[in-house]
Protein backbone atom coordinates (compact mmCIF):
# COMPACT_ATOMS: atom_id res chain seq x y z
CA UNK A 1 0.00 0.00 0.00
CA UNK A 2 2.03 2.95 -1.26
CA UNK A 3 0.46 5.68 0.86
CA UNK A 4 0.99 3.91 4.15
CA UNK A 5 4.47 2.81 3.18
CA UNK A 6 5.41 6.39 2.46
CA UNK A 7 3.86 7.49 5.72
CA UNK A 8 5.81 4.87 7.61
CA UNK A 9 9.10 5.77 5.94
CA UNK A 10 8.45 9.45 6.65
CA UNK A 11 7.67 8.57 10.23
CA UNK A 12 10.91 6.64 10.61
CA UNK A 13 12.92 9.47 9.07
CA UNK A 14 11.19 11.99 11.29
CA UNK A 15 11.90 9.88 14.33
CA UNK A 16 15.56 9.63 13.39
CA UNK A 17 15.84 13.37 12.75
CA UNK A 18 14.11 14.23 15.99
CA UNK A 19 16.10 11.69 17.93
CA UNK A 20 12.80 10.20 19.06
CA UNK A 21 13.48 7.06 21.04
CA UNK A 22 11.48 4.71 23.14
CA UNK A 23 12.45 6.76 26.16
CA UNK A 24 11.09 9.99 24.78
CA UNK A 25 7.87 8.32 23.69
CA UNK A 26 7.31 6.80 27.09
CA UNK A 27 8.41 9.99 28.83
CA UNK A 28 10.49 8.04 31.29
CA UNK A 29 13.10 10.70 31.71
CA UNK A 30 15.61 8.90 29.56
CA UNK A 31 15.59 5.63 31.43
CA UNK A 32 14.43 2.42 29.85
CA UNK A 33 12.28 0.40 32.14
CA UNK A 34 14.10 -2.67 33.42
CA UNK A 35 11.13 -4.81 32.51
CA UNK A 36 11.16 -3.97 28.82
CA UNK A 37 11.58 -6.87 26.46
CA UNK A 38 13.79 -6.83 23.40
CA UNK A 39 14.16 -9.02 20.35
CA UNK A 40 17.29 -10.49 21.80
CA UNK A 41 15.30 -11.91 24.68
CA UNK A 42 12.23 -13.28 22.98
CA UNK A 43 10.63 -13.95 19.64
CA UNK A 44 7.12 -13.50 20.92
CA UNK A 45 5.15 -11.45 23.41
CA UNK A 46 1.63 -12.33 24.50
CA UNK A 47 -0.56 -9.53 25.78
CA UNK A 48 -3.49 -10.10 28.15
CA UNK A 49 -5.69 -7.26 29.25
CA UNK A 50 -8.22 -6.78 32.00
CA UNK A 51 -10.93 -4.40 30.86
CA UNK A 52 -13.46 -2.52 32.94
CA UNK A 53 -17.01 -3.63 32.20
CA UNK A 54 -17.96 -0.10 31.16
CA UNK A 55 -15.82 -0.50 28.06
CA UNK A 56 -18.60 -2.48 26.45
CA UNK A 57 -21.07 0.39 26.82
CA UNK A 58 -21.55 2.77 23.92
CA UNK A 59 -21.87 5.73 26.28
CA UNK A 60 -18.45 5.01 27.82
CA UNK A 61 -16.82 4.48 24.46
CA UNK A 62 -18.17 7.74 23.04
CA UNK A 63 -17.28 9.68 26.17
CA UNK A 64 -13.71 8.38 26.18
CA UNK A 65 -13.11 8.86 22.47
CA UNK A 66 -11.92 12.03 20.78
CA UNK A 67 -13.34 10.88 17.45
CA UNK A 68 -16.07 8.52 16.33
CA UNK A 69 -16.20 7.81 12.62
CA UNK A 70 -17.93 5.52 10.20
CA UNK A 71 -16.13 4.62 7.00
CA UNK A 72 -14.69 2.03 4.70
CA UNK A 73 -11.40 0.27 5.32
CA UNK A 74 -9.28 1.15 2.30
CA UNK A 75 -5.88 -0.11 3.37
CA UNK A 76 -4.01 -2.19 5.92
CA UNK A 77 -0.25 -1.82 6.14
CA UNK A 78 2.27 -4.57 6.49
CA UNK A 79 3.26 -5.10 10.13
CA UNK A 80 6.10 -2.93 11.35
CA UNK A 81 8.08 -2.46 14.52
CA UNK A 82 7.31 0.32 16.97
CA UNK A 83 7.91 1.24 20.58
CA UNK A 84 4.95 1.23 22.90
CA UNK A 85 4.01 3.38 25.84
CA UNK A 86 6.36 1.43 28.11
CA UNK A 87 9.30 1.70 25.76
CA UNK A 88 8.87 -1.88 24.67
CA UNK A 89 9.44 -3.04 21.12
CA UNK A 90 6.18 -4.21 19.65
CA UNK A 91 4.68 -4.90 16.25
CA UNK A 92 1.86 -2.79 14.82
CA UNK A 93 -0.01 -2.25 11.61
CA UNK A 94 -1.90 0.78 10.39
CA UNK A 95 -5.43 0.74 9.07
CA UNK A 96 -6.73 3.43 6.71
CA UNK A 97 -10.39 4.32 6.88
CA UNK A 98 -12.13 6.58 4.36
CA UNK A 99 -14.63 8.56 6.42
CA UNK A 100 -18.25 8.43 5.30
CA UNK A 101 -19.74 9.89 8.48
CA UNK A 102 -18.02 11.80 11.25
CA UNK A 103 -20.06 11.26 14.37
CA UNK A 104 -17.71 12.89 16.85
CA UNK A 105 -14.59 14.94 16.25
CA UNK A 106 -13.39 17.15 13.45
CA UNK A 107 -12.99 14.70 10.61
CA UNK A 108 -14.83 15.22 7.37
CA UNK A 109 -16.52 12.95 4.89
CA UNK A 110 -14.00 11.73 2.32
CA UNK A 111 -11.03 12.22 4.63
CA UNK A 112 -8.75 9.26 5.31
CA UNK A 113 -8.05 8.49 8.95
CA UNK A 114 -5.21 6.20 10.02
CA UNK A 115 -5.73 3.93 13.01
CA UNK A 116 -2.86 2.01 14.56
CA UNK A 117 -3.50 -1.52 15.75
CA UNK A 118 -1.07 -3.41 17.97
CA UNK A 119 -0.14 -6.91 16.88
CA UNK A 120 1.48 -8.86 14.08
CA UNK A 121 4.80 -10.35 13.09
CA UNK A 122 7.88 -8.51 11.90
CA UNK A 123 11.26 -10.05 11.14
CA UNK A 124 10.71 -13.11 13.28
CA UNK A 125 9.18 -11.27 16.20
CA UNK A 126 5.48 -11.80 16.91
CA UNK A 127 3.33 -9.61 19.11
CA UNK A 128 0.05 -11.28 20.07
CA UNK A 129 -2.76 -9.13 21.40
CA UNK A 130 -6.06 -10.90 20.87
CA UNK A 131 -7.98 -7.94 22.26
CA UNK A 132 -7.05 -5.73 19.35
CA UNK A 133 -9.72 -5.23 16.68
CA UNK A 134 -9.48 -6.97 13.34
CA UNK A 135 -10.18 -5.08 10.12
CA UNK A 136 -10.65 -6.25 6.55
CA UNK A 137 -10.28 -4.17 3.41
CA UNK A 138 -13.61 -2.98 2.10
CA UNK A 139 -15.31 -3.39 5.46
CA UNK A 140 -17.86 -0.79 6.49
CA UNK A 141 -16.88 0.06 10.05
CA UNK A 142 -17.64 2.39 12.90
CA UNK A 143 -14.73 3.03 15.23
CA UNK A 144 -14.26 4.84 18.50
CA UNK A 145 -10.86 6.53 18.45
CA UNK A 146 -8.57 7.93 21.09
CA UNK A 147 -5.05 9.23 20.96
CA UNK A 148 -2.43 6.55 21.31
CA UNK A 149 1.17 6.77 22.48
CA UNK A 150 2.35 7.74 19.02
CA UNK A 151 0.12 10.80 18.82
CA UNK A 152 -2.18 9.12 16.31
CA UNK A 153 -5.29 7.08 16.82
CA UNK A 154 -5.88 3.75 18.44
CA UNK A 155 -9.25 2.11 19.03
CA UNK A 156 -10.82 3.01 22.35
CA UNK A 157 -11.50 -0.17 24.29
CA UNK A 158 -9.77 -2.23 21.58
CA UNK A 159 -12.14 -5.00 20.43
CA UNK A 160 -15.06 -3.24 22.07
CA UNK A 161 -14.63 0.04 20.17
CA UNK A 162 -14.71 -1.38 16.65
CA UNK A 163 -18.07 -2.11 15.03
CA UNK A 164 -18.91 -3.78 11.75
CA UNK A 165 -21.73 -1.91 10.04
CA UNK A 166 -24.70 -3.80 8.66
CA UNK A 167 -27.06 -1.24 7.16
CA UNK A 168 -27.63 1.11 10.09
CA UNK A 169 -26.72 -1.34 12.83
CA UNK A 170 -23.27 -1.34 14.39
CA UNK A 171 -22.33 -4.89 15.32
CA UNK A 172 -19.67 -6.35 17.61
CA UNK A 173 -19.80 -10.10 17.17
CA UNK A 174 -17.33 -10.76 19.94
CA UNK A 175 -18.02 -13.27 22.68
CA UNK A 176 -16.59 -10.88 25.24
CA UNK A 177 -19.28 -8.30 24.57
CA UNK A 178 -22.58 -8.98 26.35
CA UNK A 179 -25.09 -10.37 23.86
CA UNK A 180 -27.55 -7.54 24.26
CA UNK A 181 -24.86 -4.99 23.45
CA UNK A 182 -23.51 -6.57 20.28
CA UNK A 183 -25.90 -4.80 17.91
CA UNK A 184 -26.44 -1.05 18.31
CA UNK A 185 -28.43 1.28 16.08
CA UNK A 186 -26.25 4.04 14.68
CA UNK A 187 -28.86 6.52 15.86
CA UNK A 188 -28.07 5.60 19.45
CA UNK A 189 -24.37 6.21 18.91
CA UNK A 190 -25.07 9.56 17.26
CA UNK A 191 -27.33 10.49 20.13
CA UNK A 192 -24.59 9.70 22.63
CA UNK A 193 -22.16 11.86 20.67
CA UNK A 194 -24.58 14.76 20.49
CA UNK A 195 -25.29 14.51 24.18
CA UNK A 196 -21.78 15.69 24.96
Amino acid sequence: MPTLSRLFICGVLLALLCGCSSESVSNDGGNQSANSLSHEETSQVIVETQWPEEVSSVAWLVRNSSAVIRGTVTGISDPFEATDVMGQLIVCHDVEIAVSNSIKGSHRRGETVTVRVRGGSFEGFTYVDDDQPVFTIGEDVLVMLAQNEWGGYGVTGAFSGKFHMENEVARRDDARVPTEMRGVGIGLIEAEAHRE
Binding site: S26, D28, N31, Q32, S33, A34, N35, L37, E41, T42, Q44, V45, I46, V47, E48, T49, Q50, W51, P52, E53, E54, V55, N64, S65, V85, M86, Q88, D131, A146, Q147, N148, E149, G154, V155, T156, G157, A158, A175, R176
Partner: protein
Amino acid sequence: MIASYPNVYQYEGVCWVLDAGSPLATQNLYRFYNRTNGTHFYTASESEKASVIAYQAATYQYEGPVYKVTLAPVGGELTVYRFYYIPIGSHFYTSSAEERDRIIANYSNVYVYDGPAFYVPTPESSFGYSGMRWPGTSTYWSLDNVSPVPVAWIPAIEASAATWSSSGSRFRFIRNESIGDQTGCTVASKYMGPTYGIGTSFTTPGSQMTKVYTVLNTYYALGVTYDVQNLMTHEFGHWLRLIDLNASWDTEKTMYGWGAAGETKKRSLHPADSGGIKYIYGQ
Protein backbone atom coordinates in the same frame (compact mmCIF):
# COMPACT_ATOMS: atom_id res chain seq x y z
CA MET B 1 -35.27 -44.09 26.64
CA ILE B 2 -37.97 -41.58 27.44
CA ALA B 3 -40.05 -42.65 24.46
CA SER B 4 -39.44 -46.39 24.59
CA TYR B 5 -39.15 -47.25 28.28
CA PRO B 6 -41.28 -44.80 30.30
CA ASN B 7 -42.57 -47.66 32.42
CA VAL B 8 -39.02 -48.66 33.41
CA TYR B 9 -37.01 -45.43 33.35
CA GLN B 10 -38.21 -42.21 34.93
CA TYR B 11 -36.34 -39.25 33.48
CA GLU B 12 -34.95 -37.04 36.26
CA GLY B 13 -33.07 -34.45 34.19
CA VAL B 14 -29.43 -33.49 33.69
CA CYS B 15 -27.05 -34.73 36.39
CA TRP B 16 -23.95 -32.83 35.34
CA VAL B 17 -22.42 -30.87 32.49
CA LEU B 18 -18.90 -31.83 31.53
CA ASP B 19 -16.36 -29.24 30.45
CA ALA B 20 -14.85 -31.40 27.74
CA GLY B 21 -12.17 -28.79 27.05
CA SER B 22 -10.86 -28.81 30.61
CA PRO B 23 -7.18 -29.70 30.96
CA LEU B 24 -8.34 -32.06 33.69
CA ALA B 25 -10.58 -34.10 31.40
CA THR B 26 -7.93 -36.67 30.56
CA GLN B 27 -9.13 -39.96 31.94
CA ASN B 28 -11.53 -42.10 29.94
CA LEU B 29 -14.75 -43.11 31.63
CA TYR B 30 -15.58 -46.64 30.48
CA ARG B 31 -19.02 -48.17 30.16
CA PHE B 32 -20.10 -51.78 30.54
CA TYR B 33 -23.49 -53.34 29.92
CA ASN B 34 -24.64 -55.70 32.63
CA ARG B 35 -26.24 -58.61 30.79
CA THR B 36 -27.81 -59.96 33.97
CA ASN B 37 -29.91 -56.96 34.95
CA GLY B 38 -29.83 -54.67 31.90
CA THR B 39 -28.09 -51.79 33.65
CA HIS B 40 -24.79 -50.02 32.94
CA PHE B 41 -21.63 -49.95 34.97
CA TYR B 42 -19.12 -47.11 34.69
CA THR B 43 -15.54 -46.88 35.82
CA ALA B 44 -12.66 -44.49 35.21
CA SER B 45 -10.16 -46.85 36.77
CA GLU B 46 -7.92 -48.55 34.25
CA SER B 47 -7.20 -51.41 36.63
CA GLU B 48 -10.87 -51.95 37.41
CA LYS B 49 -11.72 -51.87 33.73
CA ALA B 50 -9.04 -54.45 33.01
CA SER B 51 -10.20 -56.60 35.88
CA VAL B 52 -13.84 -56.58 34.77
CA ILE B 53 -12.86 -57.45 31.21
CA ALA B 54 -10.59 -60.24 32.40
CA TYR B 55 -12.74 -61.85 35.06
CA GLN B 56 -16.37 -60.75 34.63
CA ALA B 57 -16.84 -60.73 30.89
CA ALA B 58 -19.71 -63.16 31.18
CA THR B 59 -21.72 -60.55 33.07
CA TYR B 60 -20.33 -57.27 31.82
CA GLN B 61 -20.10 -56.45 28.15
CA TYR B 62 -17.45 -53.80 27.52
CA GLU B 63 -18.85 -50.89 25.48
CA GLY B 64 -15.82 -48.60 25.46
CA PRO B 65 -15.07 -45.04 26.63
CA VAL B 66 -17.97 -42.60 26.81
CA TYR B 67 -16.20 -39.33 27.71
CA LYS B 68 -13.26 -38.04 29.72
CA VAL B 69 -13.25 -37.24 33.43
CA THR B 70 -10.53 -36.90 36.02
CA LEU B 71 -9.26 -39.02 38.87
CA ALA B 72 -7.04 -36.21 40.20
CA PRO B 73 -9.31 -33.37 41.31
CA VAL B 74 -7.78 -29.98 42.06
CA GLY B 75 -10.88 -28.27 43.42
CA GLY B 76 -14.38 -27.45 42.30
CA GLU B 77 -14.99 -30.56 40.21
CA LEU B 78 -18.16 -32.52 40.67
CA THR B 79 -17.61 -35.71 42.65
CA VAL B 80 -19.60 -38.69 41.44
CA TYR B 81 -20.27 -41.25 44.14
CA ARG B 82 -20.93 -44.92 43.48
CA PHE B 83 -23.08 -47.46 45.29
CA TYR B 84 -23.53 -51.17 44.72
CA TYR B 85 -27.21 -52.19 44.84
CA ILE B 86 -27.27 -55.62 46.43
CA PRO B 87 -30.74 -56.93 45.36
CA ILE B 88 -30.01 -57.02 41.63
CA GLY B 89 -26.24 -56.44 41.52
CA SER B 90 -26.42 -53.06 39.76
CA HIS B 91 -24.61 -49.78 40.43
CA PHE B 92 -26.04 -46.42 41.32
CA TYR B 93 -24.27 -43.09 40.78
CA THR B 94 -25.00 -39.67 42.21
CA SER B 95 -23.22 -36.33 42.26
CA SER B 96 -25.32 -35.13 45.16
CA ALA B 97 -23.57 -35.29 48.52
CA GLU B 98 -26.96 -34.89 50.16
CA GLU B 99 -28.36 -37.89 48.29
CA ARG B 100 -25.24 -39.89 49.11
CA ASP B 101 -25.62 -39.17 52.81
CA ARG B 102 -29.32 -39.98 52.76
CA ILE B 103 -28.72 -43.36 51.14
CA ILE B 104 -25.92 -44.19 53.55
CA ALA B 105 -28.12 -43.23 56.49
CA ASN B 106 -31.31 -44.93 55.40
CA TYR B 107 -30.57 -47.64 52.85
CA SER B 108 -27.26 -49.15 53.81
CA ASN B 109 -28.93 -52.54 54.02
CA VAL B 110 -29.36 -52.59 50.24
CA TYR B 111 -26.81 -50.04 48.98
CA VAL B 112 -23.10 -50.59 49.61
CA TYR B 113 -21.21 -47.31 49.35
CA ASP B 114 -18.19 -47.71 47.05
CA GLY B 115 -16.92 -44.12 47.51
CA PRO B 116 -16.06 -41.47 44.93
CA ALA B 117 -15.97 -43.10 41.50
CA PHE B 118 -14.63 -40.21 39.44
CA TYR B 119 -14.65 -36.42 39.20
CA VAL B 120 -16.29 -34.33 36.51
CA PRO B 121 -14.68 -31.06 35.42
CA THR B 122 -17.65 -28.75 34.92
CA PRO B 123 -17.84 -25.30 33.31
CA GLU B 124 -18.18 -23.85 36.80
CA SER B 125 -14.93 -25.52 37.88
CA SER B 126 -13.03 -24.80 34.70
CA PHE B 127 -9.91 -22.70 34.38
CA GLY B 128 -7.96 -21.67 31.31
CA TYR B 129 -4.36 -22.73 31.04
CA SER B 130 -2.00 -21.44 28.38
CA GLY B 131 0.24 -24.51 28.51
CA MET B 132 3.24 -22.52 29.76
CA ARG B 133 4.72 -22.50 33.24
CA TRP B 134 7.62 -21.25 35.30
CA PRO B 135 10.51 -23.63 35.81
CA GLY B 136 10.24 -24.94 39.33
CA THR B 137 7.59 -23.89 41.80
CA SER B 138 8.43 -20.26 42.51
CA THR B 139 9.35 -17.04 40.82
CA TYR B 140 10.56 -13.64 41.87
CA TRP B 141 8.56 -10.50 41.46
CA SER B 142 9.39 -6.85 41.95
CA LEU B 143 8.17 -3.31 41.49
CA ASP B 144 9.29 -1.42 38.42
CA ASN B 145 11.51 1.49 39.36
CA VAL B 146 11.07 3.50 36.18
CA SER B 147 7.29 3.62 36.12
CA PRO B 148 6.68 2.84 39.77
CA VAL B 149 3.34 2.14 41.32
CA PRO B 150 2.23 4.52 44.09
CA VAL B 151 3.55 3.46 47.48
CA ALA B 152 0.00 3.21 48.78
CA TRP B 153 -0.70 0.34 46.37
CA ILE B 154 2.18 -1.86 47.50
CA PRO B 155 0.38 -3.62 50.39
CA ALA B 156 -2.47 -4.50 48.02
CA ILE B 157 -0.03 -5.93 45.47
CA GLU B 158 1.75 -7.94 48.15
CA ALA B 159 -1.60 -9.27 49.35
CA SER B 160 -2.42 -10.34 45.80
CA ALA B 161 0.80 -12.34 45.56
CA ALA B 162 0.19 -13.89 48.97
CA THR B 163 -3.29 -15.01 47.91
CA TRP B 164 -1.86 -17.21 45.16
CA SER B 165 1.08 -18.36 47.29
CA SER B 166 -1.28 -19.62 49.98
CA SER B 167 -3.81 -21.22 47.66
CA GLY B 168 -2.80 -24.79 48.44
CA SER B 169 -0.47 -25.32 45.52
CA ARG B 170 3.30 -25.75 45.71
CA PHE B 171 3.89 -22.44 43.91
CA ARG B 172 5.23 -19.37 45.70
CA PHE B 173 5.69 -15.77 44.59
CA ILE B 174 8.78 -14.28 46.22
CA ARG B 175 9.32 -10.54 46.20
CA ASN B 176 12.91 -9.69 45.36
CA GLU B 177 13.67 -6.18 44.17
CA SER B 178 17.16 -7.00 42.94
CA ILE B 179 16.28 -10.03 40.82
CA GLY B 180 12.61 -9.72 39.99
CA ASP B 181 13.11 -7.24 37.17
CA GLN B 182 15.71 -9.40 35.45
CA THR B 183 13.92 -12.69 35.58
CA GLY B 184 10.45 -13.04 36.98
CA CYS B 185 7.62 -10.57 37.17
CA THR B 186 7.42 -6.85 37.58
CA VAL B 187 4.56 -4.48 38.09
CA ALA B 188 4.49 -0.89 36.91
CA SER B 189 1.95 1.89 36.55
CA LYS B 190 1.59 4.25 33.65
CA TYR B 191 -0.90 6.54 31.99
CA MET B 192 -1.77 4.53 28.89
CA GLY B 193 -5.07 6.03 27.80
CA PRO B 194 -8.33 4.30 26.87
CA THR B 195 -6.88 2.20 24.07
CA TYR B 196 -5.45 0.03 26.86
CA GLY B 197 -7.35 -1.70 29.65
CA ILE B 198 -7.01 -1.30 33.41
CA GLY B 199 -4.22 -3.82 33.68
CA THR B 200 -2.15 -5.36 30.93
CA SER B 201 0.28 -8.24 31.29
CA PHE B 202 3.03 -8.86 28.78
CA THR B 203 4.40 -12.39 28.75
CA THR B 204 7.35 -13.95 26.99
CA PRO B 205 6.06 -17.37 26.12
CA GLY B 206 7.79 -20.68 25.91
CA SER B 207 7.51 -23.93 27.74
CA GLN B 208 9.71 -22.34 30.41
CA MET B 209 8.92 -18.70 31.10
CA THR B 210 11.46 -16.12 32.14
CA LYS B 211 9.70 -12.79 32.34
CA VAL B 212 6.28 -11.16 32.67
CA TYR B 213 5.38 -7.62 33.44
CA THR B 214 2.12 -5.95 34.22
CA VAL B 215 1.28 -2.32 33.72
CA LEU B 216 -1.56 -0.75 35.66
CA ASN B 217 -3.16 1.97 33.59
CA THR B 218 -3.64 5.18 35.58
CA TYR B 219 -6.08 6.45 32.97
CA TYR B 220 -8.58 4.61 35.14
CA ALA B 221 -9.22 5.61 38.76
CA LEU B 222 -7.11 2.85 40.31
CA GLY B 223 -7.20 2.71 44.05
CA VAL B 224 -10.42 4.73 44.00
CA THR B 225 -12.94 3.22 41.59
CA TYR B 226 -10.97 0.09 40.81
CA ASP B 227 -9.57 -1.94 43.68
CA VAL B 228 -5.85 -2.56 43.19
CA GLN B 229 -5.79 -5.85 45.10
CA ASN B 230 -8.75 -7.10 43.09
CA LEU B 231 -7.03 -6.13 39.87
CA MET B 232 -3.60 -7.46 40.77
CA THR B 233 -4.87 -10.82 42.01
CA HIS B 234 -6.20 -11.33 38.49
CA GLU B 235 -2.90 -10.23 36.96
CA PHE B 236 -0.89 -12.56 39.21
CA GLY B 237 -3.05 -15.32 37.76
CA HIS B 238 -1.75 -14.36 34.33
CA TRP B 239 1.77 -14.50 35.72
CA LEU B 240 1.03 -18.14 36.56
CA ARG B 241 -0.17 -18.55 32.96
CA LEU B 242 -3.84 -18.88 33.66
CA ILE B 243 -5.81 -17.15 30.95
CA ASP B 244 -8.90 -14.97 30.89
CA LEU B 245 -12.34 -16.52 31.18
CA ASN B 246 -15.33 -14.72 29.76
CA ALA B 247 -18.33 -17.07 29.94
CA SER B 248 -21.42 -16.33 31.98
CA TRP B 249 -20.50 -19.11 34.45
CA ASP B 250 -17.07 -17.56 35.04
CA THR B 251 -18.13 -14.28 36.59
CA GLU B 252 -17.23 -15.27 40.16
CA LYS B 253 -13.73 -16.39 39.26
CA THR B 254 -10.62 -14.29 39.75
CA MET B 255 -9.64 -15.02 36.15
CA TYR B 256 -12.87 -13.56 34.77
CA GLY B 257 -11.67 -11.15 32.13
CA TRP B 258 -13.80 -8.15 32.98
CA GLY B 259 -13.25 -5.91 35.98
CA ALA B 260 -15.92 -3.76 37.57
CA ALA B 261 -15.97 -0.56 39.54
CA GLY B 262 -15.87 -1.26 43.25
CA GLU B 263 -15.31 -4.96 42.69
CA THR B 264 -13.35 -6.85 45.35
CA LYS B 265 -14.47 -10.47 44.82
CA LYS B 266 -11.37 -11.30 42.79
CA ARG B 267 -9.23 -10.78 45.87
CA SER B 268 -10.30 -14.29 46.93
CA LEU B 269 -9.74 -17.23 44.65
CA HIS B 270 -12.62 -19.26 43.33
CA PRO B 271 -12.04 -23.03 43.61
CA ALA B 272 -11.52 -23.05 39.84
CA ASP B 273 -8.70 -20.51 40.17
CA SER B 274 -6.90 -22.40 42.91
CA GLY B 275 -7.60 -25.58 40.94
CA GLY B 276 -5.75 -24.05 38.02
CA ILE B 277 -2.57 -23.30 39.96
CA LYS B 278 -2.68 -26.73 41.60
CA TYR B 279 -3.02 -28.33 38.20
CA ILE B 280 -0.05 -26.43 36.80
CA TYR B 281 2.32 -26.56 39.77
CA GLY B 282 1.06 -29.40 41.94
CA GLN B 283 -0.40 -29.41 45.39
